[in-house]
């Protein structure tokens, strides 16, 4: 068959439009959990990409990548830093979206949004009071969780109030400032600084309490060249009971205490593809020195970004962000360090909660 000039033109015009691969991706059906009791994973997302998610997981069920989106039809925002349960509501600190989202703990429906610049963590003090720490400022906001409103602003002498811990009527605040070596103690009645405690290292970022009631403060800022340290503190006297100095290349984050309060866990992050100082470490609170090898070793090109210990089972949950460019995963380890199971999450799993 000989094609005419005009038929040739027609066929050639069509040639370029032939599709080779189905373009439309498969989108999962939005589902909600039948029961709200399970594991919540706060997935930060990639900074600047607006893809934070709240993953929900129940044993024996497929994980729900973003239960917030399924319940509300919209996305959380940019960098979901933390989730705090107060009563029957969850407070989501969405760091780079400058807001705290308030959702129902059972239906995950959005109830309110509080505008706060760069919120990081929330510490409930009472039913009507909670403190919100912030990045890039020296401010701690006091909010009323019942009304979802800001009620007061506290100013620290240092930048970046970060980890906080309530003990009686005192709140111990870490100011993640590379120039600071102090732990600030706030009086919850007056919202003022009542005293300070000198630490072993600069840039305090997180504080946890052991079974003996002593505080463990993790300091350091690897990116700014401030080496990390552990300071064990007597919260009453402010005495420095012990100090542990990490090697310069170590970048420890996310401290966690086991339910018995006798063993301290943390992540050491190596973002450069190596295996040194990379994995989950643990140490008895009475140890004389830091462990030299990780309890769970991360493989090359992997590092962990989330760590939590299930209060019911003692299982260790870790989050692998896989470079923050794709879905992350959570691995569940037994106390002996063997892998129990794992599940997929949203992008950048950063914190894990059990409810």
């Amino acid at each position: 068959m000989r094609l005419s000039f005009y038929q040739t033109i027609g066929w050639l015009l069509l040639l370029g439009l032939i599709a080779c691969k189905k373009d439309k991706p498969n989108a999962p059906e939005p589902v909600l959990p039948e029961s709200p009791h399970g594991v919540l994973v706060a997935c930060e997302g990639s900074l600047g990409f607006g893809n934070a998610a709240l993953t929900f997981f129940q044993e024996g069920q497929d994980p729900i990548p973003d239960v917030y989106k399924n319940a509300n039809g919209s996305t959380i925002g940019d960098v979901l830093q933390s989730v705090t349960q107060i009563g029957n509501r969850l407070f989501l600190c969405v760091n780079n979206s400058d807001k705290v989202l308030v959702i129902g703990a059972e239906d995950f429906k959005l109830q309110a949004s509080i505008s706060i610049s760069k919120p990081r963590y929330i510490l409930p003090v009472s039913d009507t009071r909670a403190y919100v720490s912030t990045l890039f400022s020296n401010r701690i906001f006091e909010i009323n969780p019942a009304t979802a409103t800001v009620t007061d602003t506290l100013l620290l002498p240092v930048q970046n109030p970060e980890g906080m811990l309530l003990r009686g009527d005192e709140v111990f605040v870490c100011g993640w400032d590379t120039a600071s070596q102090l732990l600030y103690v706030l009086n919850t009645h007056t919202n003022t600084i009542s005293r300070t405690i000198t630490l072993a290292g600069k840039a305090p970022q997180a504080v946890v309490c052991d079974g003996e009631g002593m505080l463990w403060v993790l300091s350091g800022n690897n990116a700014s060249g401030i080496p990390a340290t552990w300071s064990r503190i007597n919260p009453v006297s402010g005495e420095l009971l012990a100090a542990y100095y990490f090697p310069e290349t170590a970048d420890p984050i996310r401290p966690a205490m086991n339910p018995a309060g006798d063993t301290l866990y943390w992540i050491s992050v190596n973002q450069y593809g190596g295996v040194s100082n990379n994995g989950i470490y643990r140490m008895p609170v009475i140890a004389g020195s830091l462990p030299e090898t990780p309890f769970i070793q991360a493989i090359a090109w992997q590092y962990f970004w989330a760590l939590a210990i299930d209060p019911a089972t003692g299982y260790i949950y870790t989050g692998d962000p896989k470079g923050f460019t794709q879905k992350g995963s959570v691995q569940i380890y037994r106390q002996d360090g063997t892998l129990q199971s794992s599940f997929e999450t949203g992008v950048g799993p950063g914190h894990i909660y059990f409810q």
Binding site: K21, D23, E44, N96, Q271, G273, W305, F324, T325, K327
Partner: protein, 631 residues
């Protein structure tokens, strides 16, 4: 609100009718508005000129009519609307970068008069800051040409060129134009060029461009509510001064291009407000000496990016410098041609003490007869004392008078940028260069019959890159050599021209199909194996149509951009979008001077879309322009 919209629509229709009526009243034809590329014949004595004249791969030059249509726009807009190359735009007042055939922005080169103008630290060029008006010729060279263009030319190159000076005694030309459009957009531009009246051996030229915009367009947020863009003002100024001198043998051309752009960075959809601002200041100086078969090029570029985010008290000022020297020599005998070039490039960042240098020697050999063309090229480059050799070869066969076919292979290479190596925090000084091979094959046909002409080009390509650099991280991002990436696909361009008396019409269809997938990863847990790279659409279609009658030109486009994944494992994606636009121009004589008027509309269909996630793009945009040729 509805009444206002209707009124506005009536006004727009009125303007169109007025222009149409004036056309009917005017019979005199000033010039042929569909006249294609301005042809200036000269001897190619630089790698980019060789590439344009003898490349075996695909080259897409934009004709002067197209450049005229976009003279008030940025190069980013031109490429996005008139080629299948994907422009990754972060929205108004934000970065717009090239993505050729699935390659990253840093794997694409932008050359101005043969000098690489990618930012020395970032390795990318922001096309939103490059005005079309400052180039006489703009072309796209698809595929890697590392042998001719050096490190970083993996995916393709964008070539911005000034006309070679023509030393005509007493020649002078001068134009001034202004444009105003939606969202407070205003542009004013002028172009002056004159040769001395005694000998014609001196030529001086000056171009100026000033831009201002509010960019306060409305967009739909995630909940479907209309919002108005904030923190989106922009102002920019460009000045290009050119001096050329005809020597006893050869010529010397000097160009100085200074630009400053101040722009507010609007909030992304996930941000409540934005107080981000950026000031870009660039100075580009070039000297080009040509004598017979010799060419010596010297260039110095200083680029400063001053970024601030008052909300978090973040202030940064990154200043980079580049010195580029290139000596090129070319000879030809019988059907053979040989070009040798020795480029030297030195980049450094002010204040940080980080620098990068490269010295290379490249050779290009060409044999050409009436039927065959063979070329072999190779470059040996010393990048930070490491040797990289990038050979390549190509062949073209003229099968019939109307049909030719070509095949080429090329080794590709990209040295990591200063930021990838040394940025604090996150730089990785242990990064290895990206290396690989690419190949392409294609055909070109050109059929003429009566008053019809059909031009078609079809190309298939494949490229494999090892040590692909990818940024990983949460709070701190760090680049790694982690992936091996295989890109392959097909492109087509079909243009149908028709002419009858003083009517000329063109219909062009361009398509691109790109599969660019991760093939290997160092991380066994990586979920990106076999998956499409983020922000690489598999499908791109462009349809452009033009009709010219006497002094009128009506042109329009329809573009389709397919799904783009936003994660490396294809777990999240952006919806595809299609855009339409239309432009009407008219040229006339008023008060014995040549005038041109234009009315254009971008995104005529008011499509709500995002090129990059959570960065809304504007809806329908009108622009009215007027130009005067006073010399």
């Amino acid at each position: 609100m509805k009444a206002t919209a209707t009124c506005s629509r009536k006004r727009q229709t009125g303007i169109l009718l007025l222009l149409l009526l004036s056309a009917a009243a005017k019979a005199q034809s000033l010039n042929d508005s569909l006249q294609e590329v301005k042809v200036k014949s000269y001897r190619a004595v630089s790698p980019t000129e060789i590439l344009l004249q003898h490349n075996t791969g695909r080259i897409q030059p934009f004709d002067s009519t197209t450049l005229d249509l976009y003279k008030s726009n940025s190069v980013a807009t031109l490429i996005a609307e008139q080629s299948p190359v994907f422009i990754k735009s972060y929205g108004f007042n934000s970065l717009s970068t090239l993505s050729f055939r699935g390659a990253s922005a840093a794997q694409s080169t932008v050359l101005w008069n043969g000098v690489p103008v990618n930012n020395a630290a970032l390795g990318v060029a922001d096309l939103s800051l490059l005005p079309v008006f400052f180039s006489d010729k703009i072309s796209i060279a698809y595929g890697g040409s590392s042998a001719l263009l050096g490190s970083g030319n993996v995916g393709g190159a964008l070539l911005l060129d000034s006309d070679v000076p023509g030393f005509v005694k007493g020649y002078k030309t001068g134009t001034v134009s202004a444009a105003a459009g939606s969202f407070g957009q205003k542009t004013i531009a002028a172009n002056l060029q004159a040769n001395d009246t005694k000998t014609g051996k001196w030529q001086m030229g000056m171009r100026m461009l000033g831009q201002q915009a509010n960019n306060d367009f409305s967009f739909k947020d995630e909940t479907g509510h209309w919002q108005k863009m904030t923190n989106s003002r922009q102002a920019a100024g460009h000045l290009l001064v050119s001096v050329a001198r005809q020597l006893k043998q050869g010529s010397l051309s000097l160009h100085a291009w200074a630009q400053k752009a101040e722009r507010e960075i609007p909030p992304a959809l996930f941000e409540q407000t934005s107080r981000k601002q950026q000031t870009d200041e660039v100075l580009r100086l070039t000297a080009d000496w040509r004598q017979g078969s010799n060419s010596l090029k010297l260039a110095y570029i200083k680029e400063g990016i001053n970024y601030s985010d008052k909300a978090i008290r973040l202030y940064s000022n990154a200043v980079t410098h580049r010195i580029f020297v290139s000596e090129t020599w070319r000879t030809r005998w019988d059907k053979h041609q040989l070009l040798l070039t020795v480029p030297l490039q030195l980049d450094w960042m002010a204040g940080r003490g980080n620098s990068q240098h490269s010295l290379a020697a490249a050779a290009f050999y060409l044999y050409k007869n009436q039927r065959w063309q063979f070329s072999v090229q190779s470059r040996a480059g010393w990048y930070q004392e490491k040797l990289a050799v990038t050979p390549g070869a190509g062949a073209t066969l003229q099968i019939k008078k109307w049909l030719s076919t070509y095949l080429s292979v090329q080794r590709s290479f990209r040295q990591p940028t200063l930021n990838e190596l040394y940025y604090q925090p996150g730089g990785n000084a242990a990064l290895k260069p990206e290396e690989g091979w690419s190949g392409e094959a294609g055909y070109r046909l050109n059929i003429n019959k009566e008053n019809w002409q059909l031009e078609q080009e079809g190309t298939g390509f494949i490229r494999s890159i090892q040590n692909w650099i990818i940024w990983y991280g949460g709070a701190i991002w760090t680049p790694h050599n982690i992936a091996s990436v295989l890109s392959r696909g097909a492109e087509s361009s079909t243009a149908l021209h028709w002419q009858h008396q003083n009517i000329k019409a063109t219909l062009q269809v361009q398509t691109a199909y790109v599969l660019s997938t991760t093939r290997k990863s160092e991380n066994p847990l990586d979920g990106s194996i076999g998956r499409q790279l983020p922000y690489v659409p598999r499908y791109n279609y462009r349809i452009n149509a033009r009709v010219g009658w006497q002094d009128w030109l009506l042109s329009g486009y329809w573009n389709y951009t397919g799904y783009r994944f936003t994660t490396s494992d294809e777990s999240a994606y952006l919806e595809p979008y299609d855009l339409t636009g239309i432009t009407l121009t008219w040229q006339t004589l008023l008060f014995h001077k040549k005038w041109n008027f234009g009315l254009s509309c971008h995104n005529l269909g008011q499509t709500s879309y995002e090129v990059v996630a959570y960065r809304p793009m504007p809806g329908r945009m009108w622009q009215l322009s007027a130009g005067l040729k006073f010399l």
